[in-house]
């Protein structure tokens, strides 16, 4: 079961003031009824209490189920007919400072460039684009079949080609999405090559939108899992407080991003890491384009919205039930 918008669940905290208002209302209401109907039997107050409880139960039930329906849960798979052929692959390459770490020889960035060459070779005949990102992002090569240009550009890529600072995976993915030609009938893939050190942005939001747009996300995680000091040109990098900066690959974060997009994460540190990523892409798209369909997880919000409607109508019924019947 996957949650598309898990942050919505924080709205359940609104039930606290509702319950609080309910309790105060019950006490006040009981006092008001006591002053209006002084010698009424206990049965009267029990009816009032039961009615009050049912009112808040149905109202609370409506709020809870409505909030759950807003989360947009997905589970199971449905077959969606899709008649696509070929791949449009956009590389979103992280060129933030942490990619200069030397836990992979010679640097994370240089190893990432090697990975690009392997992927280009493995998918001959497909179309490729290249975007780079740091704080900001830029498309360096629009989606094209011209592999000669991409290969020669990769050779000249330097980590300081973008002037902005920081690391914003969300911006990188947005720029990569823009690079796809709209009228193409090809499968759309973004290969994110990064150490996962996202200092800003909300990549989770954009990967969920990517899933809805039918864009597949494959992540190649770069760097070791343990912290190492970041050294650039022989000098240790220090933060604003003068402390040395240590970096590592954010494996958990990258895995979670891939999971949210129903994509695939591969750690480049693993033996034949890039090869495994390539095999996964091939097996996924070869399988689906062979059959002319894709498996996708449908939205299941109605499972929660039907009970919400029933609770809401019940709330009105509770309010309208004749007192004498109770």
């Amino acid at each position: 079961m996957k949650q598309t918008y898990p942050g919505v669940l924080w709205l359940l905290l609104l039930l606290i003031p509702i319950i609080f208002i309910g309790l105060i209302g019950y006490i006040k209401g009981k006092k008001s009824i006591q002053s209006l109907a002084m010698n009424s039997s206990g049965r009267f107050y029990r009816a009032y209490g039961l009615r009050y409880f049912l009112y808040y139960l149905t109202l609370g039930g409506f709020f809870i189920f409505s909030i759950f329906s807003l989360v947009d849960y997905r589970w199971g798979k449905v077959v969606i007919k899709e008649d696509r052929e070929g791949l449009d692959i956009v590389f979103a390459l992280d060129c933030s400072n942490s990619m200069q770490a030397t836990d992979i020889y010679p640097t994370r960035f240089a190893s990432s460039k090697d990975a690009l060459f392997l992927i280009l070779k493995a998918f001959e005949g497909e179309r490729f684009g290249l975007t780079l990102f740091k704080g900001e992002s830029e498309t360096f090569v629009p989606v094209t079949e011209d592999v000669i240009l991409i290969e020669s550009l990769i050779n000249y890529l330097e980590i300081d080609m973008l002037r902005s600072r920081g690391s914003n995976i969300e911006n990188g993915l947005i720029e990569a999405i823009r690079a796809f030609p709209e009228e193409s009938n090809r499968h759309k893939i973004i290969i994110l090559i990064s150490d996962g050190g996202a200092l800003e942005g909300n990549a989770s939001r954009i990967v969920r939108e990517m899933y809805d747009m039918g864009i597949s996300l494959f992540i190649l995680g770069v760097g070791g899992e343990g912290y190492i000091p970041l050294v650039i040109e022989g000098k240790a990098v220090k933060n604003n407080h003068g402390h040395p900066v240590s970096v590592r690959q954010e494996v958990e974060y990258l895995s979670r991003l891939a999971e949210e997009a129903e994509g695939f994460y591969q750690n480049m540190e693993e033996p034949n890491g890039v090869g495994k990523l390539i095999d996964n892409i091939k097996s996924y798209f070869l399988r689906s384009s062979d059959r002319g369909f894709q498996l996708r997880s449908p939205l299941r919000y109605r499972v929660f919205l039907w009970p919400a409607l029933i609770f809401l109508l019940s709330n009105m019924v509770i309010r309208r039930i004749s007192w004498r019947d109770l």
Binding site: G25, F62, E182, E183, D212, Y301, R302, L305, W306, L312
Partner: protein
Amino acid sequence: MLTFDKIFNLLLLVLVPVCIFLFHFRRNRGGSLPFPYLIWGQSSKLKTPPLVGSLIILSDIMFWLAIVLIILALAGPSKAMQKKIFLNRGMDIMFILDISPSMSAKDFGVENRLEGAKQIISQYIDSRENDAIGLVAFGDYAMIEVPPTNDYELLKQKMSELEIKSLGEGTAVGMGLAVGSLHLSSSSASEKIILLLTDGENNSGEIEPETAANLAAQMGVRIYTIGIGSSGVVEAEFRDPETGKVVSGELLSEFNEELLVKIAEQSGGEFFKADSIGSLDLILKIIDSRESVEKRVSLVVHKEYIHRLFITIALFLIGFYFFIRRVVLQEVL
């Protein structure tokens, strides 16, 4: 366009007016507590203050509106947009544009030959769809500015940034053709053409135009050569990209028509003369009519689900309903 996935769920809306009648207008509908209250000498009915009455009605409207929105959300509302997608490959077109100083001649109607060419090429790009278009610029040497791509906005942006003399003072026609052919070599398009626009003689570069044209022909690329501008002495002016100074004067303009004809014929293309912006426009239209690929198009419906908007508004409405009844009016029952 608003569409619904589960349209049968909308039948529930029929129940809404029925429920409204049953809950609000039916006699003896209950839900009230009758007790005796009589003001001596006045009407026995205790009238509801107008503000209170209005708030009650408003809260009821909010409640039923929320019910309607929930029913609409259950029906799976979405914004549907039709998108055109191409099922087959278009052709690959490579523009090879001369940006040597002679292209600053002011005999082309607009600012100069280069700006005139840019304007017409931009209009040509706007008229294309599904064709991958690239751009090579040449002066002393040649450079690929944009590889063949369907990203027309990027292509037009890069073309607008081209400056006279930014690639030197010479005219390396052969290098331009060679670079253009090289970047078409990986193309799987069934039709590939080069549109070479120049106003000069080949006087730079290591590769001769005939050699480059032969290479292109072997790759199945057709070359259309377009000689730009009038012959003779023409006025020219441009801003030097290195110094920023404006350079102006007169130059003797002449392109090697024989060479351009030979290049075109070698590859199965054609030579054209464009001495004005209007004639360049016509030439591109003629080439367009001769080069076409069958287009197989499919219309795909792209849906953006908006049920969350309906549910969110319904939640707010019920929240306001609760607030009005329980906090403002301090409803007891």
